[in-house]
Amino acid sequence: MKIFVCIKHVPDTAANIKLVGDNGFEDSECKFIVNPYDEYGLEEAVSLVEKEGGEVVVVTVGKGAATATLRSAMAMGAARAIHVQTQGQFLDSTLTAKALKAAMDQDGAADLIFTGKGSVDTEGAQTQYRLAAAMGLPVVNEVSRLTIDGQKATMEKEIGGGEREVLEMPLPGIIGATKGLNEPRYPKFPDIMKAKKKKIQEMAIGDLGIDENAGASQLVKLEAVPERSGAKMLEGSVQEQVAQLIKVLREDEKII
């Protein structure tokens, strides 16, 4: 079984992000990690291969510094990596999907492709769909349970209110992993050592015939989230609280 796992090099959510210029941030000062949702996909892929044999290949599109993230992914069990290198910090998801497809096509078809359900930095949650469209493959996102049976994947996804949807998909296909699917492993010391020797195939995005500045959307501006003003707790009986709430909405916030 050959499995691609698309992973994104993202700033640690605990990182203090300093904005630079209109639409960039200081990336030399901040810690990067494997996008946490992609880790679920990676863990799933590695355990599948451990059981059934085969190979896990991680693919990323990102700046040069993403190498470190690829090494972490390989320490978790991926056999090798493909790195499509960009100059910019943000790449439009149409281009990301194109680049991923081109890199995978070059490498040869896989039985299964994992992505995360979205990335914690830009939270676009589009790449997996665009990739599926480009590759002509089925896609299911937000998968929290998976069984593979021959050429068929059976998946569950939460649809709110404690309900779950059960879906079947023929393989090859694309699965967007999310929390609950498994518990990503910590790399073992010997695997960290081995990861260093595993191969990373590098290519510039331009070499795949893609102009990284020609995305369908453009990032105009990055802004820090404005600090929220303190929450106000309403007190008293339900009736009193409702009366107060209406008063606040009408008089203070002028919403109704």
Binding site: A14, E29, A68, Y186, P187, K188, F189, I192, M193, K196
Partner: protein, 603 residues
């Protein structure tokens, strides 16, 4: 970014910019450890430490260990990180790959160990002692013993302890009374009671291997008649699996000031039936063998103390940046002065820089000593090897005692910075202080360490290791003198080094004169001043590395490098004069200490 446990930037500075650790990869033995690998090892150790081990620290303290029906239960939350730690194969980081070790440089293991120990020391004592027991088997075991025990210990599948202490045998291990009687099949029957045994019983592993010091029937009194035995909790079946109980009973566990998550057990051997032990190493050579484990444990204990200090420091800095209280001294008389975070207050700054100076100095001492071990392994001739070994032996008591004493003080300051909140259970600071205290007591009290420094290490090989140490300091001094801005610091340091040489000479002479008792009364303060000068040395070294880089540094590094120079300046200019004063005290021979009649202590 809020950091936990240890300042990663500073860890990297010591490893890469001071010690150039990646240079080791030029040697075949460490060829896998280039800079990238080193960084990755630390990143993964940090991950495991922060995500899985640190969250168990408070639980370890609050829940503690429970003895029920003769079985100790460790805090529930310890089980998962123990499994992850073992699965990740972190137990035997530096050991020979032939025996299941990872062959990592010791200096790097120190950095990883800092993360683990700083995350939860009580927890780390379980795998730590397990490793120590394994080391004994590796060094002294027969092939059969290695086969039975080694892999089980180095993978953490079985636990290990060290059993020296008895009610009448604390600092004086030679006074022990546990006995061993030879059986026909070559094994021994062990009878006796040990107390204060860390990890003496637990439910993390399926078996526990106790290295026990005991006296074979008829052996000489004192340390000369002590042998070492391997005593498993469960006898081992033919197929190597744990079998019948071996009559090692846990008769009680201590209630104590700190490290609640680690059992301190009383063990009774052979009280209710035969307890079988295997001789490890030679008869009557047990003390010598145990020293292998104790030397490792002394470094480990220094690391434990330090782990508390670094965590307390990081917490204090994070807190001081966030806690808003009081106004800027210069704006005190403004109409509506704004409140500021307490890190703006000079007195809080003073405490933080002092904590920083000790923490960073101690970190250097630990990693540097680790590197000396690696250099022993790489040494090309016996002379070079002996030189590094001498330095290790000299630095061991300093590392153990100085780091644990200073760390306790750092933890106290760490509480002070928090104000009242530091004293409250809800915050981590008071636990760090309580946990830290034991480190100056076990593994040979700091008093015993000071006696080791003065009585053995100082005069060892006609004082060569000590001279070698001063020689290393002089190299840094010379380098500092080449950098204009550092000349004043280098000169102050030079005064202190020269004075330390004189004081050491004086102490050595006094110890060999009829004033020997006076000398030993001053042994601990002598260890302290030696440690201070070692700290000053490392700070000057840091400044030598950092100062020339400030100008061309990346933005994020400028403050860091400036901080290195300021910290060195603080330590050498503001702290070192106190050390010089203490040295003046030392040359007076501390005469009142022994002159005063014992009856005078309470009138």
């Amino acid at each position: 970014m809020a950091q936990h446990i240890a300042d990663r930037r500073d860890q990297d500075f010591v490893l890469h910019e001071m010690l150039n650790l990646a240079d080791l990869s030029k040697h075949e033995r460490f060829e896998d450890f280039n800079k990238k690998t080193i960084d990755m090892v630390i990143t993964e150790a940090r991950n495991l430490a922060i995500k899985e081990i640190l969250p168990t620290q408070a639980e370890g303290d609050e829940v503690g260990c429970i003895l029920k029906d003769g079985q100790v239960h460790v805090p529930e939350g310890f089980h998962k990180p123990y499994r992850l730690f073992c699965e990740g194969e972190w137990v035997a980081m530096c050991d020979d790959p032939e025996y299941g070790g990872q062959g990592m440089p010791k200096a790097l293991a120190m950095a990883a160990g800092e993360m683990f120990t700083g995350a939860n020391c009580s927890f780390m004592m379980y795998p730590g002692l397990t490793h120590g027991a394994g080391k004994l088997v590796e060094e002294f075991g027969t092939d059969a013993q290695k086969k039975t025990y080694l892999a089980n210990l180095y993978t953490g599948k079985w636990g290990g302890t060290m059993c020296l202490t008895e009610p009448e045998a604390g600092s004086d291990v030679g006074a022990l009374s546990t006995t061993a009687v030879r059986n026909d099949d070559g094994t021994f029957s062990i009878t006796g009671n040990k107390i204060f045994i860390s990890g003496g019983d637990q439910d993390l592993t399926e078996n526990i291997v106790h290295p026990v010091l005991a006296r074979i029937e008829g052996a000489p009194a004192g340390t000369k008649g002590i042998s070492l035995f391997l005593v498993p909790k469960y006898k081992i079946n033919e197929d190597g699996t744990p079998g019948e109980p071996n009559n090692v009973e846990c008769t009680g566990i201590e209630k104590k000031m700190g490290i609640h998550g680690n059992t301190t057990a009383s063990l009774s051997f052979g009280a209710k039936g035969t307890c079988i032990g295997e001789l490890l190493g030679e008869e009557n050579k047990g003390m010598k063998a145990m020293f292998v484990m104790m030397n490792e444990a002394r470094l480990g204990t220094g690391m434990q103390g330090f782990g508390f200090a670094t965590a307390s420091y990081i917490n204090a800095v994070n807190y001081a940046k966030e806690r808003v209280q009081g106004t800027d001294l210069l704006k005190m008389f403004d109409k509506n002065p704004q409140s500021v975070s307490i890190i703006k207050h000079p007195d809080v700054r003073r405490q933080l820089i002092s904590m920083k100076a000790y923490v960073e100095g101690m970190r250097t001492l630990l990693y540097y000593t680790g590197l000396l071990f690696d250099k022993v392994n790489l040494a090309e001739d016996e002379k070079e090897k002996a030189r590094y070994k001498g330095l290790i032996e000299l630095l061991t008591p300093i590392l153990k005692a100085y780091c644990t004493d200073r760390s306790f003080e750092v933890c106290a300051q760490g509480i002070q910075v928090y104000g009242g909140y530091g004293y409250i259970r809800e915050y981590p600071q008071e636990q760090l202080l309580r946990d830290c205290k034991i480190t100056s007591i076990y593994e040979g009290t700091n008093g015993i360490q000071a006696m080791d420094l003065l009585g053995r290490k100082l005069g060892m090989n006609k004082g060569k290791p000590f001279m070698d140490l001063l020689g290393e300091m002089n190299k840094t001094m010379a380098a500092a003198k080449e950098i204009e801005t550092l000349v004043p610091m280098a000169e102050k340091f030079e005064t202190a080094v020269n004075r330390l040489g004189e004081v050491a000479m004086h102490m050595g002479m006094t110890a060999m004169s009829e004033q020997v008792l006076n000398a030993f009364a001053a042994a601990h303060p002598f260890l302290d001043v030696t440690g201070d000068v070692v700290m000053a040395w490392f700070h000057l070294w840091r400044a030598v590395v950092a100062a020339p880089k400030i100008e061309k540094a990346k933005k994020k590094d400028v403050a860091y490098y400036q901080g290195q120079v300021s910290t060195a300046d603080y330590f050498i200019t503001c702290q070192l004069p106190t050390t010089l004063g203490k040295m003046n005290g030392l040359t007076t021979n501390y005469t009142p200490v022994m002159e005063m009649p014992e009856a005078a202590f309470i009138g």
